[in-house]
């Protein structure tokens, strides 16, 4: 009989113990995987949101712009450089951007804002700000009007909770307000009637038009069609002032951006800031956004850049967000570490018991001529089997949940959703598909097993046959 067969049969001599130990490993692996999948999935979504709505994957900037984001660190984007960049196989387009700080006023209200000038037609190829146009919102008047309508009780209550919120699509409105499929036919027309917002996106032909963040619109109490007065400091300290009619309102993912977002055409921005022909950066859109390919593209492009210009990737541009997510990531990793530590003790306890209980058996086997090395191999294999059983069961049980959570992300409703939205997060928790984090669980369990196996192997080699037989 092969030793692995012996080991496998040995496992089932004490079925209960094997199953309980394997179950403890399963338990840790399963929870660790689910937790990681949620955590990493949420980070991935957050990064994607910021990249797609604001920074893009790569940007061409003045070398000092990352540290000193002022207009004075702007530059003239030469057509020849654009052509060189666009010639790169991974690059699909270059979107010049001019952005600077200003004070915006509507009526008697003022707020510091970030004025961003881009070419809308060009920009839409990469960013998806257009999808963030608001379709529904609960203004005080809309809340009032809806409370007079005949709404299902849960929705009526949630309309109160969500008063002031806005939605970019019907799906999230239905989810947030707990509208059931049966009710939707009767309820949705009411929302369309009272809470929908007519607005539209910028086009390249627009002049004197702006799209602003929802947070900003609320702050300034500004409506679509209202005029926004923008005042600030232009290039080299020239004073800048302009009037813009609000054409659309968008909901940006990060509240800091949402509360200060004013988007005008590039030509308007250059005129406003007296920076003719200048840009502060250019978003470079790429096809393959893989970490490795991204860095390689960045290096390739950097080599062809003039002196004084640099290519920045989204990680460099969003260092703060990355740092926050990493701190959160660490706390999650520590939690899982503690869980595994506890499981390790459990596994170790099982090994200890098994060794004590089978001392006589081991003594017998060795005395009738079994090599200690072979015996140690069998015992080691037994433990490996228990561990693998737990890991595989854990992975198997987690897979359907992870795939489901990826395809249909968990969406909070009601008060919980409101809390997330107040923090500036979309109340969605997508899961990340299996990735290296799956491998890590197996590695950790293997390490735990390694400690347990080395302990039992040492015990076997130190086994005194006479004493063992007497036991």
């Amino acid at each position: 009989m092969k030793s692995y067969q012996l080991a496998w049969r040995n496992l089932w001599r004490n079925k209960r113990r094997t199953l309980i130990t394997a179950a403890s490993v399963f338990f840790a692996v399963f929870f660790a995987l689910i937790m990681r999948s949620f955590q990493l999935g949420v980070y991935a979504k957050m990064y994607r949101d910021v990249i797609e709505s604001y920074s893009g994957y790569l940007q061409l900037q003045h070398t000092d712009y990352l540290d000193e984001s002022s207009l004075d660190n702007g530059f003239v984007l030469e057509q020849s450089l654009t052509e060189v960049i666009e010639a790169d196989p991974n690059v699909t387009g270059v979107i010049p951007k001019l952005e600077s700080f200003a004070l915006a006023a509507a009526g008697s209200r003022t707020q510091g804002v970030m004025v961003i000038g881009m070419d809308p037609d060009n920009e839409q190829k990469t960013l998806n700000i257009k999808n963030r146009l608001i379709k529904y919102r609960l203004t005080p008047e809309a809340t009032e009007a809806l409370s007079g309508e005949n709404l299902p009780s849960r929705t009526a209550k949630l309309v109160g909770v969500f008063s002031g919120e806005a939605w970019t699509d019907e799906k999230s409105l239905i989810s947030d307000l707990g509208i059931s499929d049966d009710d939707s036919a009767a309820v949705l027309p009411l929302f369309r009637k009272h809470a929908s917002l007519e607005n539209s996106y910028l086009t390249s032909a627009d002049s004197g038009m702006a799209v602003i963040g929802y947070g900003l619109s609320r702050y300034l109490d500004a409506e679509v069609g209202d005029t926004l007065v923008v005042m600030g400091q232009g290039y080299h300290g020239v004073s800048a002032a302009g009037l813009f009619v609000i054409k659309g309102i968008v909901s940006m993912p990060n509240p800091e951006i949402d509360n200060a977002f004013v988007y005008i055409t590039l030509a308007d921005a250059q005129y406003l800031y007296a920076a003719t022909g200048m840009v502060t950066s250019a978003i470079i859109s790429i096809t393959n956004t893989d970490d490795r390919e991204l860095i390689q593209t960045q290096q390739r492009l950097a080599a062809s850049c003039d002196d004084g210009l640099a290519i920045r990737n989204w990680k460099e541009m969003n260092a703060l967000l990355l740092n926050q997510m990493e701190a959160d990531n660490k706390s999650g990793a520590i939690m899982i570490g503690i869980l595994y530590l506890v499981i390790a003790f459990g596994v170790f306890g099982t090994v200890l018991m098994m060794m004590a209980e089978r001392r006589r058996e081991f003594g017998m086997l060795v005395s009738i001529g079994m090599q200690k090395r072979k015996l140690a191999g069998i015992v080691g294999m037994e433990m490996l089997f228990i561990g693998l059983l737990g890991v595989m069961a854990g992975i198997a049980a987690s897979l359907p949940i992870v795939f489901y959570g990826y395809a249909r992300p968990l969406r909070f409703t009601g008060e919980m959703a409101k809390m997330y939205e107040e923090y500036g997060f979309e109340p969605v928790m997508p899961m990340l598909l299996p990735d290296t984090y799956y491998l890590w669980q197996a590695v950790v369990v293997l390490l735990i097993l390694l400690v347990a196996i080395s302990f039992s192997v040492r015990r076997i080699f130190k086994l005194n046959i006479i004493n063992a037989l007497r036991a």
Binding site: F27, Q111, M231, Q324, M325, I334, M353
Partner: protein, 475 residues
């Protein structure tokens, strides 16, 4: 009797019991300590919010907070002050004028909330004046009272008021800080060069030092080079009471540093009378009246009482202003509660295994006990007690260890400097002083006992299923 038998049984197989106990100890310690650390960051955040940023209660014109419209002043401020004054627990009251505007220097500009304060009153209410960075001046020093502004470090950086220069003085500091002369000598080429950002300075000295030296002394070099021209001027631009753009130059009297980047970047304090003159507001007009309480626990009651006496005005306490803070505290506590349950569940596997072993290897003995008349209930409770002892000994050991470690780290602090940037952007300190309430330990003890009971059910049932006759024949 059963109790003492159970206790002795636990120690019959010392190694096995100790393994389980050690597992419980480690699990409980890790869980409690993680909870204490996270709890402390929330406690510290609340402290900062109350003592530096918000105070306990605010009264605003109902339209003010949403718009910052200069015309939204409080109607009848004398009445508000009177009501607050008569509210039990209120110790300090101060009135503020607040306008939104832009602060700019020749190098940069930023949006700010300009708050006109009563300098003396607010010094008694807040600890912000203690947050002054040494060497940057003072909290409204006496002679430059007019036209002076007290601003946050983050804002100062955004306006490029703070620069990094390795002056002769910085080298003296470095020497005093214990930086080796060899390292200081390598830095000499940078002497008197100006760096506009921390990053540029880091790049410059990293080129001159070895990676190890840069890592070891980088912090100290940055601190030593941190410089600021005392009395730097900034221009504040805002709309006055008539809606006309106006502005004035202000001299910076001091720079403060907190753990909240957002607050540091937004806040700019100036003497109230100065702001009143510039905005053309009338005497006795205020946007916000704030009150400080003797004790934080009075917040809900006091703010409710004030709200009742002041219909038509917006009365809020810090919990209502920083709704996220109360929610996140609640949320984090729930997450860690679940985490604690997970740890205990993981421990339960170990206990079940050990107890099952203890029962099965004692088949003969248990058979004997029932044969000589020990009834089933007693056998059951004996096994139960053994399991509870295992968990509770480990649990108490874990709690004792965590209490000691928490006490020590509460004194020394845990430094998460690597994540300072990210944490401080949300207003959380990167220096943690773990702390946890006593009630948590009581709750945890209950949870541990329950874990012991649940894990004993299966082994104890197995013990009851033993047939005395067969059990005696066994082995």
């Amino acid at each position: 009797m059963i109790t003492s038998i159970a206790w002795k049984n636990v120690w019959r197989n010392r190694t096995r019991s100790l393994t389980v106990i050690a597992a419980v100890t480690v699990g409980v310690f890790a869980g409690v300590f993680a909870m204490a650390a996270i709890n402390s960051s929330i406690v510290q955040r609340i402290d900062a919010a109350v003592n530096e940023e918000l105070s306990h209660i605010q009264v605003n014109n109902p339209g003010f907070r949403g718009s910052s419209d200069i015309a939204n002043v409080i109607a009848g401020p004398q009445k508000v002050v009177k009501v607050l004054d008569e509210t039990p627990g209120v110790t300090h009251i101060a009135e503020r004028i607040i306008v939104r505007g832009i602060a700019s220097t020749s190098a940069g500009s930023a949006g700010v909330e300009i708050t006109g304060i009563d300098v003396e009153k607010e010094q008694q209410m807040f600890t912000l004046n203690e947050r002054l960075i040494p060497g940057t001046g003072s909290y409204f020093g006496t002679d430059t009272r007019l036209n002076s502004a007290f601003i946050g470090e983050k804002l100062a950086k955004e306006l490029y008021i703070i620069r990094y220069i390795l002056s002769e003085e910085s080298f003296t500091t470095l020497e005093a800080e214990g930086v080796p002369a060899a390292v200081a000598a390598k830095l000499r080429p940078l002497e008197n060069q100006r760096f506009t950002t921390e990053k540029k300075l880091t790049e410059a000295f990293s080129g001159l030092l070895t990676a190890k030296e840069a890592k070891l002394y980088g912090m100290k070099i940055k601190e030593a080079a941190w410089s600021y021209r005392e009395g730097s001027k900034i221009i504040l631009t805002f709309l006055d009471a008539d809606g006309m753009q106006t502005g004035a130059a202000f001299r910076i009297c001091g720079i403060f540093r907190t753990n909240n980047d957002f607050f540091e970047a937004m806040s700019l304090f100036v003497p109230r009378d100065e702001l009143r003159r510039l905005t053309g507001m009338e005497e006795g007009q205020y946007h916000r009246i704030i009150a400080r309480l003797e004790d934080n626990d009075q917040t809900d009651k006091a703010s409710a009482a004030v709200k009742e006496s002041l219909p038509g005005l917006e009365v809020m306490n810090w919990k209502q202003i920083q709704t996220d803070l109360a929610m996140i505290a609640d949320y984090v506590n729930r997450i860690y509660g679940i985490f604690m349950v997970l740890i205990l569940a993981a421990l339960a596997f170990g206990i079940v295994n050990t107890m099952l072993m203890a029962v099965l290897e004692r088949t003969r003995e248990l058979g004997m006990l029932s044969a000589i008349g020990m009834n089933r209930r007693r056998v059951f409770s004996m096994i139960m007690l053994e399991s509870i002892f295992l968990s509770i000994v480990g649990g108490f050991a874990g709690m004792a260890v965590s209490a000691i470690v928490i006490a020590i780290t509460n004194h020394t602090g845990i430094n998460l400097v690597k994540y300072a940037e990210g944490l401080e952007a949300f207003g959380y300190s990167a220096q943690l002083y773990p702390t946890i309430g006593a009630d948590f330990f009581i709750m945890l003890t209950v949870m541990i006992v329950i874990t012991g009971i649940i894990s004993a059910i299966y082994p104890a049932r197995k013990a009851l299923q033993l047939n005395p006759v067969e059990a005696l024949r066994g082995e």
